[in-house]
């Protein structure tokens, strides 16, 4: 018996030790949310992304430049009025530009991997935008990468309001470029094409970030409280995203805590 065991060990010791080492490594990777592996992925991507902090391509045309200037002046005016009325001003810091280095881990999540991490000041829960509006929030960070849960994921829930009527609700993803908007109370004045922005009352996102447009109205007979929202940011072909690091992080929903 003992001799048999010894013979077995003599024959298979390296296979057993190797397998154990690999299993431990896999467990370590799982427990640390693969921070080492995602950082390795960052370095594997550097020929595409570049080591330097590259500015995003300039998307401005003359029309957007004009609109940006008007927006800045309106924001300043808004801030002045808020201080006069003693309403707290939400601090706005310059967002961090990040390049997309990975998308959709498996078929069941709508996620992005960005090449900015804790070394760039990114924290859990930071909102992420792209030209067009809100695209999601940071749900995992390593030193050099951040994983973003997109608004099109069914687990993403964003508190929003319809700009024109002020109606409040929650937008949930459906794996597609459209989300379901559930209103808190019955809506009869909402029209097709109304813009939907993040609600200022939500503690998760800063207020007034554009989210999308109403693309289908509530069905009066069956789903009184539901409308469909087309996201304005192009979620599929994203190359660049902006992480709003200044926004205070907050606890994530239970489903996403490691």
């Amino acid at each position: 018996m003992r001799a048999g065991l010894l013979r077995w060990w003599g024959r298979y010791q390296w296979q057993v030790v190797g397998t154990l080492v690999l299993l431990l490594a896999a467990l370590y990777i799982r427990q640390t949310q693969a921070q080492v592996l995602t950082d390795v992925w960052y370095w594997l991507n550097w020929p595409l992304v570049g080591l330097e902090v590259v500015p995003p391509p300039n998307l401005s045309t003359y029309r957007t430049l004009e609109l940006e200037q008007r927006l800045t002046s309106l924001e300043q005016e808004n801030e002045r009025l808020r201080t006069m009325l003693a309403v707290p001003v939400t601090p706005q810091s310059k967002p961090v530009a990040a390049q997309v280095i990975g998308r959709n881990g498996d078929h069941w999540w709508r996620t992005l991997v960005l090449n900015r991490g804790t070394t760039d000041g990114v924290a859990l829960g930071n909102p992420v935008t792209a030209p067009g509006g809100l695209i999601g929030e940071v749900v995992a960070v390593s030193d050099r990468t951040a994983r973003v849960l997109l608004v099109s994921d069914p687990l993403s829930k964003v508190g929003v309001q319809v700009n024109r009527t002020g109606a409040m609700g929650v937008v949930t993803g459906t794996y597609r470029s459209e989300g379901i908007l559930e209103f808190f109370d019955s809506q009869s004045q909402v029209k097709l094409g109304d813009t939907v922005v993040t609600s200022g009352l939500s503690s998760r996102f800063p207020g007034n970030l554009p989210v999308g447009k109403i693309s289908r109205l509530p069905d009066k007979r069956t789903e009184v409280l539901q409308a469909t929202v087309q996201f304005t940011a192009p979620l599929d072909g994203l190359q660049w995203a902006f992480i709003h690091t200044g926004v205070v992080s907050r606890p994530l929903p239970d489903a996403l805590t490691p």
Binding site: W14, G18, T19, L22, L23, A26, L27, I29, R30, Q31, T32, Q33, A34, L37, T38, W41, L44, I101, G102, R103, N104, G105, D106, H107, W108, W109, T111, V113, V139, R147, P154, L155, T174, Y175, D236, A255, L256, P258
Partner: protein, 169 residues
């Protein structure tokens, strides 16, 4: 004691598995069907277990599953589905129902990719995070499309891996 070329082969095996785990982050339009990409990890476990024993398949599935749980959200776990894929590949291959190796590989890859997506869908349903109608509509689309592209592209991974493993003799 392991010889040097043997060690190289094992290292290559581990690296190819890791490469497959990374490959799911790449979106290659030519390799997808309706936006659904190849299940590289399922394909790797199928290739690995194709000419090995069921417990080798089980261990490989568990390890890659743990790595995937780290790279993405840990729940629902990928370990369960991939371990099943490993065990079933070795078991199905034992019967040698088909003479053609590539055909058998393609069929097994299709069936097990569907099974793997189903284990994930069942876990989502048990957790109750996603609305049931949306979940199963998505499952139908994803499992069929990924099963098809995975079986079509199976030889792409199978040939290099088999030649690599032949080095061990």
């Amino acid at each position: 004691m392991l010889s040097r070329p043997n060690l190289m082969v094992h290292l290559g095996t581990v690296l190819s598995g890791l490469a497959c785990a990374y490959a799911q982050w790449l979106y290659l339009p030519g390799l997808s069907l309706g936006g659904v990409t190849v299940d590289w990890v399922v394909l790797w476990v199928v290739c690995f277990s194709f000419e090995r024993t069921w417990w080798q398949g089980l261990l490989a599935g568990c390890m890659l599953g743990l790595v995937l749980d780290g790279l993405g959200p840990a729940l629902p776990t990928h370990t369960l589905g991939l371990a099943l894929v490993g065990v079933l590949t070795a078991w199905l291959r034992n019967y040698r129902l088909l003479q053609s190796e590539v055909l058998a590989l393609g069929l097994i890859a299709f069936a097990l990719a569907v099974l793997y997506e189903t284990t994930l869908a069942l876990q989502f349903m048990a957790l109750g995070w996603v609305e049931t109608d949306l979940l199963w509509a998505h499952h139908q689309r994803v499992s069929l499309a990924s099963g098809l592209v995975t079986s079509l592209w199976a030889p792409l991974l199978w040939w290099p891996l088999r030649h690599w493993w032949k080095l061990t003799g």
